[in-house]
């Protein structure tokens, strides 16, 4: 998981009032490129279009800018003056991650329930030190959830990241919402003589 890098700044972007570009620069985007030449690179609109006026239409990277409140040097609004360069196309894996997160939550609840049964069975054989079984069960579950979850996240695949996050979310939800099974938060279980 990594944040996409910030687009680099464009120190050469013209500002309102700057002299026109020298002749060796590509023509403005409202003029068609000459034949047999590649299309011009991504360019900001000319100053006349950027200052005030109607909102710009939406571009490929989001909606256009609306009419702004106006600054001290004239009316605002219009499109943002300098468009960032188009980012590299990345595969959108958020849906896979979210779906596997839900699966991870369910998996954690299942693991939790199985471990709870094992803990209760182990507690039967511990005489007067039954709480040791609960502590042991909680530690084992935490190791599975956070150790396994961390390994899954570090695997860097969308499915594994979702599963790892889901395991941790499931552990937190069980701890917050329930008597805890094996997260160790079993107050009602102890007071009712369950162990």
């Amino acid at each position: 998981m990594s944040t996409p890098p910030e687009p680099p700044e464009r120190p050469q972007d013209p500002r309102p009032g700057d002299p026109p570009p020298p002749p060796n620069q590509p023509p403005p985007p409202n003029q068609p490129p000459p034949p047999n030449q590649p299309p011009p690179p991504h360019q900001p609109p000319p100053p006349g279009q950027a200052q005030g006026g109607a909102p710009a239409p939406g571009g490929p990277y989001g909606p256009g800018g609306g009419s702004g409140p106006g600054g001290p040097y004239g009316p605002g609004g219009g499109a943002p003056y300098a468009w960032p360069p188009p980012p590299a196309r990345q595969e959108n894996t958020t849906g896979v991650v979210v779906a596997l997160t839900f699966a991870g939550v369910v998996l954690e609840v299942i693991v939790n329930a199985v471990l709870a049964v094992a803990t209760l069975a182990a507690a039967d054989g511990l005489g007067s030190h039954k709480e040791l079984a609960v502590v042991g069960g909680a530690v084992i579950l935490a190791a599975i959830v956070f150790g396994g979850g961390t390994l899954l996240i570090r695997h860097r695949q969308p499915w594994s990241r979702g599963l790892g996050l889901g395991l941790m979310i499931g552990w937190a939800l069980v701890t917050i919402l329930s008597a805890g099974f094996c997260t160790g938060v079993n107050t009602s279980l102890y007071t009712n003589g369950g162990l």
């Binding site: 998981m1 990594s2 944040t3 989001g62 600054g71 001290p72 040097y73 894996t93 958020t94 991650v97 979210v98 997160t101 709480e131 609960v134 502590v135 909680a138 990241r161 996050l165 941790m168 979310i169 552990w171 937190a172 939800l173 701890t175 917050i176 919402l177 329930s178 160790g184 938060v185 079993n186 107050t187 102890y190």
Partner: protein, 276 residues
């Protein structure tokens, strides 16, 4: 006091039911808010994971530092197993959890504004569970005071035959009002993170005041443990909010300041801040 709710033939613990419902509603609001802000992405999910894990740990371990004298505090295992489910501990843990999770993945953007309305609506619902299962508050002669039914014997802190403040309902009303205020303010506070700061400040002040109606034990100078816990936080928040106010972060929330004219010699930077 209603310990259990019955749905058909199934009985569900009332506290856990409302806390769970609050978590579900908070999740829905979080997703909607993230979508509205264009932040519905994996990094936000990591922040949620940090919040939930940190909150779960914080709410239990808050009992570990219950007394100033360490000898009076339970051990960490005992606090984990039998400690109170403290909201303040949970919120603090959730805050730290988000910071840690974002640090682990190198995510630098602020996410508090996504959480603020979600936390408010979640706590509004969750507090209904507290109202149904815990001692409601201190004695009062106000007409809306509530009585603990004599048929429920297990109500520690309840005063038989005496009306008590429905302090958890006060909090429900506050959280619903805060939720509405956050929806109103979210289009007027542009600076990332400031909405969350405002919510934290408002809740800290409210919680400090509502503690005077809660049934919590007073430990020193007639103040409860949550009030003492909140003291340094309130001071920090006051400094932070004053800073934001002076910087103009909340101008569009305040009548008269939103249209503040620019001073002579002041120009706006591209980020909207004043350059002199």
């Amino acid at each position: 006091m209603i310990e259990e709710l019955r749905f058909g033939g199934v009985s569900v613990p009332a506290h856990a039911f409302f806390v769970g419902l609050g978590v579900v509603l908070a999740s829905v609001v979080f997703v909607l808010e993230a979508r509205r802000r264009g932040a519905l992405r994996e990094e936000s999910l990591v922040a949620v994971t940090g919040a939930l894990v940190g909150g779960a740990v914080g709410m239990r371990l808050s009992g570990w530092a219950e007394h100033l004298d360490p000898a009076l505090n339970p051990g960490i295992v005992e606090a984990w197993m039998f400690g109170a489910r403290s909201i303040l501990g949970g919120l603090t843990g959730a805050y730290v959890g988000v910071l840690v999770a974002k640090r682990l993945i190198g995510y630098r953007e602020r996410t508090g504004d996504l959480f603020a309305p979600a936390v408010a609506i979640g706590m509004a619902v969750g507090r209904l569970g507290c109202f149904l299962t815990e001692a409601p508050g201190r004695p009062t002669a106000l007409p809306w005071g509530v009585h603990a039914p004599a048929t429920v014997p297990e109500c520690p802190g309840c005063l038989a035959g005496q009306a008590m403040h429905p302090s958890f309902l006060y909090e429900v009303v506050f959280q619903l009002a805060a939720f509405g205020a956050l929806l109103w303010a979210r289009g007027r506070v542009d600076r990332p993170g400031e909405l969350f700061t405002l919510y934290l400040g408002a809740y800290a002040v409210f919680r400090f005041l509502v503690e005077f109606t809660r049934a919590n034990e007073t430990v020193w100078l007639d103040l409860t443990r949550p009030q003492w816990f909140l003291m340094p936080g309130l001071a920090l928040l006051a400094v932070r909010l004053t800073y934001g106010y002076r910087k103009g972060f909340y101008d569009r929330l305040l009548p008269g300041r939103g249209e503040r004219p620019l001073l002579t010699g002041v120009r706006l930077s591209p980020a909207g801040e004043e350059d002199r």
